[in-house]
């Protein structure tokens, strides 16, 4: 078998081998049951003590949200100013400048919300201090925020009826001490010993074999790259992210990075099953997500391996596949696999330039981000999936002749209202955002901004439209990858995506937690023969249909004008 495809299969297989036991472990950690990492308890006690936290204090869902929003606000304020004045702070060996207020606004929101959309380039846009004290710090904490939020959601369904949902700080701290930090150390070490720099040395200069003078950016990147993937963050040290040879030196590191971004999202799904003692339900969810992933992955691999028909028309062999924007050491198959993984999960790191991918690959990437819950981001993936579940439960509950219930709790107008708002949010942000951008591009091309709107697009026509659509979609999904040809470091994109990022993060956390909190407090109804079972293949199919239909209906026209129009036009060229 083709070694490129074998590499993908191995990557996914190893992912599962790690994620399954990790899921069980996480359930135990958060349920407070015995685990082998309990030796860290005294260490955690010190953290709680220093922070003035009593981890035994029970919170309601509202208190959880308050705690979460408070600490996120602290990071927003802190990071905004540090990024703006990074040039005045230590650890800046390359003498990089401070950020403009709009870029700082965009960047700090982007990292607090676990999106990591980057409108700057790491080599020149940040200092070693901000890379570590803002970016890497938030890599840990934003991921832990998502995981903690998911655990609150788990907690609501563990007991029959409950209003106390544990302690947010405890979930948050444990996410770091028991999960992110230990795994980051392991992955960081693997990267360090495979070529990723760890030292604080600044830029180097040498004279190349051919006699050119070359400057090389470096920096303590390994630790950040490890958690960037584990926490589904995606914001890289270098501008081109994991396509950079120092950030992702070899096929081995590529496998490590692509595996590490997937394990926690999958483990969280399985942890849900262990935690609420309904393993079959979690496996059903996992099944839907996995089938969804393969439905996006397989055509992506096919279109990338198939190569660019327009170049083929020039007479150039496409046996290797489409190589624009890709690295030889990964090849098109692993790049396609990565691009699917990074878009269905909200990582957003890239090992190839999505902008240069085939039109249909772009379509699947966009769809992956629009759905945003085929595994999805750390913790938040399952929260997003929950919204689809509620809608599926509601409609199929009706179809079997019972007022709908989820895990023994009646789903009524209030819950549906919240789910409806969250469902509405994504099309609103993505479509309205893209519409405004299209309008500005068309009508105010000469606006005096850092990048004139007329110069935003690196590509004309349908592909240019896709660039704008992708940017908004990525922001809403808190993904962070981009069709990077877009000239996005200017006040329009910095502010607009900043707002989309913010709403696209917090409302989809608040909504599901509120629903879970409301449901959890309701009377528990034991299942009967008339109760719709949510762990069956039929219900899984229903959920899948809901996900597909909702997204297709919301985005079909936009997708038709972007990637589909480009694809069919290109196919037309071939004939």
């Amino acid at each position: 078998m083709n070694t490129e495809l074998l590499g993908i299969i191995a990557s996914f297989a190893i992912t599962l081998v790690i994620a399954v036991p990790l899921g069980k472990y996480l359930a135990n950690v958060f349920a407070g049951e015995k685990t082998w990492t309990d030796f860290l308890k005294p260490f955690e006690s010190i953290i709680y003590k220093l922070s003035g936290i009593n981890p035994k204090e029970q919170m309601t869902w509202k208190q959880h949200l308050k705690a979460m929003l408070t600490i996120n606000s602290v990071w927003l304020v802190y990071g905004f100013f540090v990024l703006m004045y990074q040039d005045k702070l230590p650890l800046n060996p390359d003498g990089n400048a401070g950020m403009s207020p709009d870029l700082s606004f965009n960047t700090i929101i982007s990292f607090v919300v676990n999106c990591n959309l980057q409108h700057y380039s790491g080599e020149s846009g940040l200092t070693y201090f901000t890379q570590q004290f803002v970016i890497m710090f938030l890599h840990f904490t934003s991921a832990a925020t998502g995981i903690a939020a998911a655990v609150v959601f788990f907690k609501a369904f563990r007991d029959k009826t409950t209003t106390t949902l544990g302690n947010f700080w405890e979930f948050f701290v444990k996410s770091i001490t028991r999960l992110l930090l230990p795994l980051s150390l392991i992955v960081g070490l693997i990267l360090a010993f495979n070529g990723t720099p760890t030292s604080y040395e600044g830029k180097d200069q040498f004279i190349s074999l051919q006699g050119d003078t070359v400057n090389v950016s470096r920096g303590p990147a390994a630790g950040m790259i490890a958690v960037k993937h584990l926490g589904t963050n995606g914001g890289g040290w270098f501008g081109v992210n994991s396509a950079h040879p120092l950030e992702n030196p070899s096929y081995l590191t590529n496998m490590v990075e692509v595996i590490s971004q997937m394990i926690i999202p999958i483990a969280m799904v399985l942890a849900f099953g262990y935690f609420i003692r309904k393993r079959k339900f979690a496996w059903t969810i996992f099944g839907v997500m996995t089938i969804g992933m393969f439905m996006l992955l397989i055509p992506t691999i096919m279109s990338e391996l198939g190569g660019n028909p327009a170049i083929e028309k020039l007479g150039i062999s496409q046996t290797i596949g489409a190589m624009e924007g890709k690295e030889v050491r990964f090849g098109p198959a692993a790049s396609a696999y990565w691009s699917t993984v990074t878009t269905i999960i909200s990582t957003g790191s890239v090992n190839s330039m999505h902008d240069s991918g085939m039109p249909l690959s772009g379509l699947w990437q966009l769809l992956g981000m629009m759905i945003n819950s085929f595994y999805g981001g750390c913790g938040v993936g399952i929260l997003n999936y929950f919204i689809y579940l509620i809608i599926a439960v509601f409609i199929s509950g009706l179809m079997v002749g019972r007022t709908p219930e989820f895990l023994g709790h009646k789903v009524e107008a209030r819950e549906v209202k919240i789910a409806a708002i969250i469902t509405l949010l994504s099309p609103l942000l993505i479509l309205a955002g893209t519409a405004i951008a299209s309008f500005v591009f068309g009508s105010y091309g000469d606006a005096d901004w850092a990048v004139k709107p007329a110069n935003w697009l690196n590509n004309p026509s349908f592909h240019g439209f896709s660039e704008m659509l992708y940017e908004m979609t990525s922001s809403n999904a808190n993904n962070g990858s981009g069709f990077e040809g877009l000239g996005d470091n200017n006040i329009f994109w910095n502010i607009s995506t900043g707002i989309v990022l913010f709403l696209g993060r917090f409302l989809p956390i608040i909504g599901p937690i509120a629903i879970a909190g409301l449901l959890g407090a309701k009377k528990y109804i034991p299942a009967s023969a008339g109760t719709l079972k949510t762990d069956t293949k039929t219900f899984a199919l229903m959920t899948f249909a809901v996900i597909l239909v909702l997204n297709a209906l919301s985005y079909f026209p936009a997708l038709a004008l972007g990637p589909l129009a480009e694809y069919f036009t290109m196919i037309g060229l071939r004939e």
Binding site: T3, I47, L50, S51, G52, S121, E123, Q132, M136, T141, F172, I176, L181, S184, A192, F193, G195, P197, T198, Y200, K203, F206, I207, S208, D212, V214, N215, S217, P220, A222, G223, G239, V240, H244, Y251, N254, I311, L314, I316, S317, T319, I320, E324, G325, K326, E327, V328, R329, F330, A334, S335, M353, D355, S356, N458, S461, H463, G464, E484, E566
Partner: protein, 188 residues
């Protein structure tokens, strides 16, 4: 609310010590024992640094194997791909020009023999590798310019081919810098 604010600030500070100081310093310490001592593995020729093993560099001299086109001219202080869309007419023109250049230097080639990596820009702009096919089409030219036996160069290419991981996973590739270094060694 006030309680949460205070707790948030204190927790943030505590975690900074852990995550932004202790964690990266641990890795920095461990990195000292890696090949490049944590600063990137360097390649030397005659005791002088001529590049980084992982970072591709520009080769335009016909005596060397060429790397892939780079959107940033192999500027390792930055990085970047072309971000050209697959149907962009300007881009297709650019590719077409690259093909012409290649054909100019390799008149023995048929268009269909050119692998796509040799006419498309890499994602990072710093791709250190080319495909096996990409190297093979250049053998004749390099041998001619260096006045070497074609067989000798062929052997060198074979020796420098990095096989898939464990022979099972991923594509084969050649590190252009290492290949050219070996070429220089050969001449001497």
């Amino acid at each position: 609310m006030k309680k949460y604010i205070l707790q948030s600030i204190r927790l943030t500070l505590v975690l900074m010590v852990l995550l932004c100081i202790l964690y990266p310093l641990t890795l920095a310490f461990a990195g000292k024992f890696s090949k490049g001592e944590g600063s990137g593995e360097k390649v030397t020729k005659n005791g002088k640094t001529v590049g980084y093993a992982l970072i591709g560099q520009s080769f335009t001299n016909p005596e060397y194997f060429w790397g892939r086109p780079s959107a940033v001219g192999y500027n390792a202080a930055g990085s970047g791909g072309s971000n050209k869309g697959p149907s962009n007419p300007d881009y297709l023109q650019q590719v077409s020009d690259r093909v012409d250049t290649l054909l100019k230097y390799h008149p023995y080639l048929k268009k269909s023999q050119i692998p796509s990596d040799m006419v498309t820009a890499s994602g990072s702009g710093l791709d250190p590798n080319i495909s096996l096919e990409g190297a093979k089409i250049q053998i004749k030219r390099v041998a001619e310019y260096r006045k070497l036996d074609k067989k000798q160069v062929e052997k060198l290419v074979e020796e420098n081919t990095e096989k898939p991981l464990l022979g099972l996973f991923g594509p084969s590739a050649l590190n252009v810098l290492k290949l050219n270094l070996a070429l220089d060694e050969l001449k001497r």
